[in-house]
């Protein structure tokens, strides 16, 4: 025992040294740089109410050479694993891929910037942001002052990733719950990694910060002037695209060369230059590449397509792979003479990996300028589309492989008759995977035909703005925790949507109702891809402030850390709870008192899995679209059966609140119509004041009526504590209903917390501010 304690303190000593514990900016909480077991009790408490729900994709496991193992009907694999634990292991792996993608991205950016500016370059996010790194401060316990400090945080993340990945090896962890705890750990680490990445980018690339009113940038292929040389940047890492903009600026070419982007690199590049244009989300990548508009395609990392070189070659676009994550088997020309690369790309149509950003940027511009005048960049006409569509026999093969399950053959058949209505509708639902065209036995050029369905309209997207300002947090802290701002809706993640227009509809619905709407990644783009009857996008219609009724583009995927960061800042700035090494207290506060709901409506990636899981550990529920049932795992409660007890920290007694608030942590909806009232419901928190609760219930009921039908939500009685909670407009009806079912009023809770309801080192006092 004594030996163990001594060891522990040595370890702690090391941690203290790394996080500079002697710098007294805040008292140090119980879990700086937490390792796998350190927050496990918190996880287990969450998992008790929000139990993992598994939907296996497959009956088998094929992870090792003992297999394949049949895991049906209670069978265990040769290693002893059961089907639930195997699903959990799979989820952990997905989260680790996601977390690694962001953290490695952060590592690459940091290396690049430290090389340029040195490790002592100061972090300054502007006068209105003092809590520069809420995730790092909370999780790591370090207040990062320089780029070098960010490296300390990242080293911690890398170390934890190795331990977690180790646990996925055959024949170890035998508990699904423990794997879930590890997945939650990975998700939390992801938010640290993302925060490092975005802070480094803001500091290193001078992105705007402390400004809400960032520029409105052009979006859509219609916005791209294809008479100019066009360079398409694709992926997530702005190390090359920002250098590309620098090169154009230095050579006075910014007005002569079009730079456009796909996916998060587009968002990053428009934070650097408002002349750059956003093509669209990942779901438009293949479509846009096949249109052949880009003279040069420059890939970096994550969510780019693995067939980019082949697709580029098909339409005569030149290709440069600018990061080691995807080198496509190409010759590494990093050390090659620039003139020689340009010559070979232009004359021989060769493709190269160039891992030196300035060189890659120069080559891209020179090649684009050389080849653009020779390339034909025409959009298909309707007449041509009708001709192409005539090859379709409506055999239905395409429908069978379409992940969105729609009858694309029917759309093509209609085009052959000169009717474009159906294909236009289908284009809005298309996630751009290209499976239909690949499967077609008649080689119908489905994507080409879709050009005629793709609106040439241009839209507006507000450039991403990075962290929420501390001043904004101060202003919304009270209304949010009291419920008078009904909630924060965070629309995040990828573009695997049932319908691309759903996002704009969700933003509009909730901004109109004065929720705070924040967006990142592909969701941030597509929110702008629909106009109202006055021709305005949501970015033009609503103010850009982090306040009720505001619509805020935070930035790319890595900017998700600023959303979790904002939740932490509410606890830290508004409620004055210390955050340093104090993750459990922060998460408990967010779960019980910050009415925020994440929506990853088109989540497809492993990154989205880890982002969402990280939000879950912090106590933020996430609504997912129907495709996300394929992630295999959700966190669901059974509202009437589960444990909704909390500690009332003021009275020091455990109270059964009966309230499923929030009801689920990771939840899949089939339709937008179902999602809308669910999002409102998931913003309900136990500490809502009667006034706040009435506002929240008003939205819940009214969204339910608008999208589902007449009557009252079936579970409304669970959320009414006292008569004062009932919204005025529905008073009569709700009262009558409550009376009918024999509802009894309940005492509201002064200070609800889970601390004290499970074994933890954190004392109840720690949540009192």
């Amino acid at each position: 025992m004594a030996v163990a304690e001594k060891k522990l303190s040595k370890k702690l000593e090391e941690i203290h040294e790394r996080i500079k514990a002697e710098v007294p900016w805040e008292p140090l909480g119980p879990t700086p740089m937490p390792e796998i077991p350190d927050l496990r009790q918190w996880d287990m408490r969450l998992l008790k109410t929000y139990a993992p729900f598994y939907a296996p994709f497959c009956d088998l496991c094929c992870f090792c050479t003992y297999g394949k193992c049949d895991l049906t009907e209670g069978r265990r694999g040769a290693c002893g694993i059961d089907i639930a634990t195997q699903q959990a292991r799979f989820v952990l792996l997905a989260c680790l891929m996601g977390c690694s993608a962001h953290s490695a991205h952060a590592g690459h950016i940091l290396e690049f910037l430290i090389e340029k500016h040195g490790p002592d370059k100061k972090i300054d996010l502007g006068g209105s942001i003092n809590i520069e790194a809420p995730n790092i401060r909370t999780v790591v316990g370090l207040k990062p002052e320089t780029l070098g400090d960010l490296q300390i945080a990242l080293e911690y993340v890398f170390k934890e990733i190795a331990h977690l990945l180790d646990s996925c090896h055959t024949g170890q962890e035998g508990s699904a719950l423990d794997y879930e705890s590890k997945a939650l750990h990975a998700g939390m680490l992801d938010h640290v990694g993302m925060e490092v990445a975005d802070i480094a980018q803001i500091v290193g690339f001078n992105y705007p910060t402390c400004v809400a009113d960032t520029p409105l940038v052009d979006m859509g292929w219609g916005a791209i002037d294809k008479s100019k040389p066009v360079i398409l940047v694709s992926g997530h890492n702005p190390a090359t695209s920002t250098v590309l903009i620098d090169y154009l600026r230095e050579h006075n070419l910014e007005d002569q060369v079009e730079v456009c982007g796909l996916c998060c690199t587009a968002l990053e590049t428009t934070r650097y230059s408002d002349k750059a244009k956003i093509v669209g989300p990942l779901s438009r990548a293949l479509f846009f590449m096949r249109a052949g508009i880009a003279d040069v395609i420059m890939t970096d990392e994550q969510c780019i397509r693995t067939d980019t070189p082949q697709e580029a070659a098909k339409v005569g676009s030149a290709l440069i792979a600018s990061l080691d994550k995807a080198m496509y088997g190409l010759e590494d020309a990093t050390e090659m003479d620039t003139d020689e690369i340009v010559r070979r790309m232009v004359d021989n149509k060769e493709q190269f990996a160039i891992l030196d950003s300035p060189k890659a940027a120069e080559v891209a511009v020179r090649v684009a300028m050389k080849i653009a005048p020779q390339r034909k960049k025409e959009w298909l006409t309707e007449e041509e589309a009708i001709e192409l569509a005539k090859k379709c026999t409506n055999c239905g093969m395409c429908e069978q492989v379409c992940p969105n399950l729609f009858n694309i053959g029917g759309g093509i058949t209609e085009v052959a008759k000169g009717n474009f209505d159906l294909i236009r509708q289908q284009f809005l639902q298309c996630i751009g995977c290209g499976k239909c065209e690949e499967e077609c036995p008649n080689n119908v050029s489905i994507f080409k035909i879709m050009q005629t369905a793709a609106s040439m309209e241009t839209w507006k997207c507000r450039a991403g703005r990075g962290p929420i300002m501390d001043t904004e947090i101060r202003n919304v802290g009270a209304p949010l925790t009291l419920g008078t701002i009904p909630g924060v809706i965070a629309l995040v993640g990828c573009s695997n949507y049932p319908n691309i227009e759903d996002i704009a509809d969700m933003v509009d619905e909730f901004a109109r109702r004065k929720y705070i709407v924040v967006l990142t990644g592909c969701a941030a783009m597509v929110a702008g891809m629909k106009k109202d009857k006055d021709g305005l996008t949501v970015y033009e219609k609503y103010p850009p402030d982090f306040d009720g009724g505001g619509v805020v583009n935070i930035g790319s995927c890595v900017a998700n850390a600023h959303i979790s960061g904002a939740a932490i800042k509410i606890a830290n700035i508004f409620a004055a709870l210390p955050l340093r090494g104090n993750y459990e207290v922060m998460a408990d506060y967010v779960l019980n008192r910050v009415g925020a709901c994440g929506v990853a409506w088109g989540a497809y990636s492993q990154k989205a899995a880890s982002i969402g899981t990280g939000f879950n550990r912090l106590g933020v529920p996430v609504v997912l679209g129907p495709h996300s049932s394929k992630y295999r795992r959700l966190f669901l409660s059974r509202k009437e059966e589960d444990d909704w007890k909390v500690m009332d920290a003021r009275k020091r007694e455990i109270v059964d609140t009966v309230e499923p608030a929030p009801e689920h942590l990771a939840y899949v909806c089939e339709t937008k119509e179902k999602a809308m009232p669910m999002m409102a419901k998931l913003c309900i928190r136990r500490n809502d004041t009667p006034q706040g609760r009435a506002i929240k219930l008003n939205h819940y009921i009214s969204l339910y009526r608008k999208y589902i039908g007449a009557g009252l939500p079936e579970d409304i009685h669970l959320f009414v504590r006292r008569d004062a909670d009932i919204p005025l407009v529905y008073k009569k009806e709700v009262r009558a209903h409550l009376q009918e079912i024999g509802w009894q009023p309940r005492e509201p809770i002064g200070l609800p917390t889970l601390i004290g309801t499970y074994p933890t080192k954190v004392p109840v006092d720690a949540v009192i501010h």
């Binding site: 296996p56 399950l405 049932s629 059974r638 039908g709 007449a710």
Partner: protein, 183 residues
């Protein structure tokens, strides 16, 4: 093991255990009639209409009525069901009802014990198949059945892929007729 390829390939290759394919409405009707505590879970695809203007939901309501089967309305279907003059017995979303069903101690919609046969009708095939997988693996106490026009491999009993909607409608009509016949 059945060699049927599902209509939607996202549902292909589920592994070891796949649904028994049944094309005979009499056999389907018998399975339903045999059930002691069946449940019909309806989804938003039933809000669409057939070529001749019948709302698909009407098939579901007819099936439920024929054997007095409780209805669980998922997604936004409740509103339409009420408009059609029926009060659904419960309202849950797909993942919620599946989550309840997988608990053997759940008392079911009628509080008479968990259901022994759960019929799914009108849920997106990818989501539906994932939910069926949950029940296949974690709810050995019940059987699942689908009524959609595509094959669902994770169910216990499924219809084949119908090339023509009219054939599927014919099946449903026959099924309803057989259910009405009684034993």
């Amino acid at each position: 093991m059945s060699a049927v390829i599902p209509r939607h390939r996202v549902n292909v290759l589920t592994g070891i255990k796949s649904a028994r394919l049944i094309e005979d409405p009499v056999e389907y009707a018998n399975l339903i009639k045999k059930a002691k505590r069946p449940l019909l879970v309806v989804g938003p695809l039933l809000l669409a209409s057939t070529a001749d203007g019948k709302i698909l939901m009407e098939y579901a309501l007819d099936i439920a009525k024929a054997c007095n089967i409780p209805i669980c309305a998922t997604a936004q279907t409740k509103g339409r069901i009420v408009e059609l003059g029926v009060q659904p017995d419960c309202v849950y979303d797909t993942v919620e009802i599946v989550n309840a069903l997988k608990d053997p101690d759940w008392q079911g919609v009628k509080k008479e014990g968990n259901h022994d046969l759960v019929m799914f009708f009108g849920i997106r095939s990818d989501l539906g198949n994932q939910g069926l997988s949950t029940l296949k693996h974690f709810a050995p106490h019940l059987k699942t059945m689908t009524l959609c026009k595509h094959y669902f491999p994770h169910a216990n009993y499924s219809l084949p892929n119908f090339k023509k909607d009219t054939k599927w409608q014919e099946f449903l009509e026959n099924l309803i007729a057989n259910l009405k016949k009684g034993d």
